[in-house]
């Protein structure tokens, strides 16, 4: 099977630090791929290189077999790759609806939209409310609430809902459960399964081994700026995975990165 998203020989240097060292990456259609690795292993750089937030110094990225070169996250989004960043990338003073539609606002039909460029707020609010309700993430009272008045978990929920609502080809989640309580984490995991059942592949970056082993189809172990190996969570235990990513254990030969 051909990977939907493929990275080859990616290199990114920050001064004398090499964040990505000839790294390869494969995501297959319809799967949940977890990316794990120690702090500073280059997971975030890898994700940013794919999502257009940074431009790799060397190497190629292919989406559905076609070479892509994103120089900004907007291009990646237009190509159908949606990312939830660790920082969530939301404007605190703006409302939930404004944030969900940031950069892809809906305009009113006819004269008011075309000539007065007026936003279609009722439609944006309705869609935002529907998305949040559909994903079962929360019961909304006021969709026009400023994001800064939400708790950390609520903000995370809005960010995940935004990605799930718009991602058409690939959804990337960077530590989606890090700021969440047990119940909220459970909801996000259900949400991930829900998105997968719609046929959209997901890249999940996480430190939380139980979560990774619960939802992932394959696990990409990142170490020292490159892919160490890709393992099947059914064949290995959590302690094995931790041993791989800390270097305590040699990776299995047959699955080692090629």
């Amino acid at each position: 099977m051909e990977p939907i998203l493929k990275g080859r020989n990616l290199v990114k240097r920050y001064g004398r630090v090499t964040a990505l060292d000839h790294c390869d990456f494969d995501l297959y259609p319809g799967e949940i791929l977890a990316v794990i690795g120690d702090n500073g292993a280059g997971k975030s750089s890898l994700i940013k290189a794919i999502s257009g937030a940074i431009v790799p110094d060397e190497g190629e990225v292919y989406l559905e077999g076609k070479r892509i070169r994103f120089t900004s996250p907007i291009q990646a989004r237009n190509a159908g790759i949606e990312t939830v960043y660790q920082t969530l990338a939301m404007s605190p003073a703006l409302s939930i609806a404004d944030n969900m539609f940031m950069g892809r606002e809906l305009r009113k039909p006819g004269f008011r939209g075309t000539w007065l460029r007026q936003l279609d707020r009722p439609r944006m609010e309705k869609l935002a409310r529907d998305k949040l309700t559909e994903l079962g993430l929360m019961t909304i009272q006021n969709i026009n609430q400023a994001v800064e008045t939400l708790s950390g978990g609520q903000r995370q929920g809005v960010a995940v809902a935004r990605a799930a609502a718009f991602g058409s080809k690939v959804i990337i989640l960077d530590e989606p459960t890090a700021a969440l309580g047990v119940k909220e984490s459970r909801k996000v995991l259900e949400l991930i399964q829900d998105v997968k059942s719609r046929g959209i592949p997901i890249i999940l970056i996480s430190h939380n081994m139980p979560h990774v082993f619960e939802v992932a189809d394959r696990i990409h172990v990142h170490r020292l700026g490159k892919r160490l190996c890709v393992v099947n969570p059914k064949d290995y235990t959590m302690s094995d995975a931790v041993a791989f990513m800390t270097g305590a254990k040699e990776p299995p030969l047959e699955t080692a990165a090629v």
Partner: protein, 353 residues
């Protein structure tokens, strides 16, 4: 599955609701704080109404007459127009110290193009507007692409534009009579008309329409939302799909264009084209913006607040003058208002905590 992986079973018995958006019981002060958070122009509006009421009570019909009240509007027109430009820039968490210089430079270009080169006055005005927009573009380019701090860029541009203005005009004033005879269009913004005892100028109408237009754009168009998002958190805006550089450059260009219109209005107000006029415009516009409740940290506030802020300054200036007080009292009270306004802004921000 081992027991340790079933640890989440414990939550089943608990409340299953997730991230509910309950409306908390805030109490009176909290409700007020929330209201101000949603309607940032409310504080300056209350202060404006209160100050009109106080001066009206103290001075009676001398102040509370259509003539005096519309005089305040006339005196506020220039600051209001420049303040609109300043509001846009400050909403992006920037600052534009060059607004006054752009205004004067544009007015001088309009005058010189007409009188030195003999161009048709309509074309001269377009030249002036283009020069203002271009200086704004330079500001925006240096800030967005070269990533220099807005304070430094516009501090430099203030000096550059002002010096250009003096060198280019050779420090010559174009007399009011000449303009009235040969190019009355330059004085368009000074044209007055009466409604009963109330006196309005074209400049006043322009200021009101401009603020209304910008209020609409900021609230109801994607570009307006992007201005707020960029001021709030530029990195987040970039990641969520806003073209931050283009937004910033367009804001500074529009700011330059509005300042050029203010330059046109300035000719109407003082009658002549004078390279030494309008020196206080930048500090007065920042004062109006701050009293109007727009946060200097960007992303918060409304342009209507700026208009109220400019009017508050106008009311204090005229009211105290009519009372025969020393002009320094005006500055003292305005200084207190500035500090008070920023204190209120900080308090409103705490609503997020």
């Amino acid at each position: 599955m081992s027991d340790s992986e079933n640890f989440e079973q414990g939550t089943k018995r608990g409340n299953q609701g997730v991230a509910k958006f309950d409306r908390p019981n805030r109490g009176m002060i909290g409700t007020l704080q929330h209201w101000l958070h949603v309607n940032p122009a409310l504080v300056p509006l209350v202060v404006l109404v209160a100050s009109i009421a106080v001066f009206g009570a103290l001075l009676g019909s001398k102040f509370f007459s259509p003539f005096a009240l519309t005089l305040i509007l006339q005196q506020t027109a220039i600051v209001g127009i420049v303040g609109a430009a300043q509001s846009l820039v400050i909403l992006t968490a920037g600052i534009d110290l060059s607004v006054g210089a752009i205004m004067v430079l544009s007015s001088v270009v309009m005058g010189q193009a007409t009188f030195r080169y003999g161009l048709p006055v309509e074309f001269a005005i377009v030249c002036g507007l283009a020069v203002g927009t271009f200086v704004g573009f330079l500001n925006g380019w240096l800030i967005a692409i070269m990533r220099l701090p807005p304070f430094i860029v516009t501090l430099g541009m203030w000096q550059i534009a002002l010096a250009t203005n003096f060198l280019y005009s050779a420090n010559e004033t174009i007399r009011s009579q000449d303009i009235a005879e040969q190019a009355p269009l330059l004085q368009l913004f000074g044209a007055t008309f009466k409604v009963g005892e109330a006196v309005f100028t074209v400049g006043v109408i322009f200021m009101v329409l401009l603020v209304a237009l910008l209020a609409y754009i900021l609230k109801h168009t994607a570009w307006g939302r992007h201005v707020y998002a960029v001021g709030d958190d530029p990195d987040a805006a970039e990641l969520s799909g806003v073209n931050v550089k283009r937004t910033l450059i367009s804001v500074y260009m529009i700011s330059g264009l509005i300042c050029a219109f203010a330059g046109w209005a300035l000719i109407g107000r003082i009658g002549s084209v004078s390279p030494t006029s309008g020196q206080l415009a930048n500090i007065e516009s920042i004062t109006a913006v701050v009293i109007g409740g727009i946060s200097l940290f960007g992303g918060r506030g409304s342009i209507l607040g700026m208009l109220f802020g400019a009017l508050i300054v106008g009311v204090f200036t005229l009211g105290l003058r009519l009372m025969g007080a020393d002009a320094q009292w005006t500055y003292l009270l305005i200084g207190a208002l500035i500090i008070g306004a920023v204190a209120v802004d900080q308090w409103i921000r705490k609503v997020s905590a």
